[in-house]
Amino acid sequence: MDFANFLIQLLNSVQYGLLLFMLAAGLTLIFGIMGVVNLAHGSFYMLGAYLAWFLVSQLDSLVLAIVLGTVIAVALGWLLEWLLFRHFYHRDHLDQVLLTFGLIYIFEEVRSILWGDDVHSVQVPELLNWSIPLTDNLSYPVYRLVMSGVCIALALGLYLLISKTRLGMKIRAGAFNREMTESLGINIRLIHGVVFALGVALAAIAGMIASPVSSVYPGMGSSVLIMCFVVVVIGGIGSVRGALVAALLVGLVDTFGKVLVPQIAGMAVYMLMAAVLLYKPEGLFKQ
């Protein structure tokens, strides 16, 4: 493999990894702080993508679509938490699994009713629709670089939020000891609502910015959910840092695995997960 090809695969790995991170960060936070497993997390990704497609067709601007879409996602997340999820924090994991299965069905159908079952594509914005040349005949799309940039910016924002702000401190306190935090007068319900909405928003944004790159199709939620789970398992539940490291690792292994050893293609990531499980069954960065 020559350098240009290597660079392309590397950039692809990072881009894929960062996208997975957006999803995994939300999932791991929601689980780490509220103790609830959400199988419908992939549905938010799917809804984000379809929402982007729809809004772009109405507003003719991807940026506007993403902004509006984010607002909608935050509202949806907040509503779901308030209406349903908050009553399930103390329930069995099994009950949570069942609840979120039901939600998957509902989200699939809502999407079908609103926007149909067709596969769509979203146009890359004019401004970003060019490529950086790497060699005589190889180039890399700028939009993908921008995607990675946005993910990095959001990751940084998340880091700053959690470690440098008072809200972040309250979030960490709530994860560590809920009763204590409540008795200190901190509104734990508000924190939970914020965290959940944040998780949903990150998943939806991921779907929105990814829509020009991957096609928008009904099954996209479940396929990304699995990878998301693998990332959280490898990284360790509750650890955002773990999610980042694991997501990049998964991105690298998956991309290079498919290129270098096509026979095992999709299996490479699972082999990685199996290896991690033997050595650290609770993830690399278990809290």
């Binding site: 069942l98 039901g102 939600l103 069905y105 509902i106 699939e108 009713i113 398992v233 499980l277 069954p281």
Partner: protein, 330 residues
């Protein structure tokens, strides 16, 4: 992950009666002069096969407390085993293809279980799902294994033995009764197992694994054995499914199939195997009902599931138990 909710293990009289009536109804059904019986025979056979699949998951989930989101992998693998074993021009013998397929599924469960059983709680849920997806992609991506199109099972297995012609499984009614027999045998086996030394240890692990280790049980070994046995029994169901439908594809091992199994077990009520049977029938029936009702049946199905988990978390048998307790029945 232990759920210390009191489990319904010993079935109250009312439930035993329901089960018996159900069994009699199933046995009598093919004899009834109804139009379109053939279609219903097929539907009921499928429901019975799913009931076996659900019971195998109940052993893992309801009894041992291990929530597996990847149980369909073993269901599908056994189905594929039959497909591969059946030659193009002649049926394979039932008497060795069934054990081989089931044991193959069990072996796969043993290997995957070795990695998966060392995790607990939410990790367990996620890794079982992940490994099942791995198996899914193994078949989906490989033309040699049939790819996304799947493989046909050219003939139902041949039940002849040493010259005795045996029963003809190509006959729908015969196959129906054979499936019913397997259902009853698996149920009897699992009920026996529930109150065996092994079964009691599994129940203990579900309630308080920490204490089980403290009193000297090697719980990893027990959980792995339960995982393997559950996989083998799922394989029995998968084998029958492949024989019945004549076709296998990767969807049999997919997430949706695993999800359906979980829902069936929860819907009926966990931990006593009777609930799994009830749940399988109820789930399939409700799904068919909704599908007939509207194109957007998933909305109804999803809402139904949400309602169940909010209002009847112990499933249908749980409701029956509550009801009969209120009336003072034993």
């Amino acid at each position: 992950m232990s759920s210390p909710k009191a489990q319904l293990e010993k079935l109250p009289r009312s439930m035993q009666v329901i089960l018996l009536l159900g069994a009699i109804a199933l046995a009598a059904f093919p004899l009834m002069p109804l139009t379109g019986v053939d279609f219903y025979l097929q539907m009921l056979s499928q429901m019975m096969i799913l009931a076996i699949f659900a019971m195998s998951l109940d052993l893992l989930q309801g009894v041992t407390g291990l929530v597996s989101l990847g149980h369909a992998a073993y269901f599908g693998l056994a189905g594929y085993a039959l497909a591969f074993l059946t030659p193009a021009d002649t049926p394979i013998s039932l008497w060795w293809s069934l054990p081989v397929s089931a044991l193959g599924a069990g072996l796969a469960a043993l290997v995957i279980g070795f990695f998966v059983v060392r995790t607990r709680g939410i990790y367990f849920i996620m890794v079982t799902m992940a490994f099942a997806q791995m198996v899914f992609f193994l078949f989906f991506d490989n033309k040699a294994l049939g790819g996304s199109d799947g493989i046909y099972v050219n003939f139902r297995p041949d039940a002849s033995l040493f010259g005795w012609a045996g029963i003809d499984l190509e006959n729908k009614t015969t196959f129906y009764y054979f499936t019913l027999l397997v259902l009853v045998l698996v149920y009897a086996f699992l009920r026996r197992l529930l109150f065996s030394p092994f079964g009691r240890v599994l129940a203990g692990i579900r309630v308080n694994e920490h204490r089980m280790r403290a009193v000297g049980y090697g719980t990893f070994g027990y959980k792995l054995a339960a995982f393997t046995l559950a996989g083998a029994l799922a394989g029995v169901a998968g084998f029958l499914w492949a024989a019945q439908t004549g076709f296998v594809n990767p969807e049999l091992m997919g997430f949706h199939m695993s999800a359906h199994a979980i829902m069936m077990v929860i819907l009926g009520g966990m931990g006593n195997f009777a609930g799994a049977i009830v749940g399988a029938f109820a789930f399939e029936y409700v799904m068919h009902f909704f599908k007939d009702l509207t194109k957007h049946w998933q909305l109804l199905m999803g809402s139904f599931i949400v309602l169940i988990v909010v209002f009847a978390p112990r499933g249908l048998l749980g409701l029956v138990a509550q009801f009969s307790r209120k009336r003072g029945a034993p």
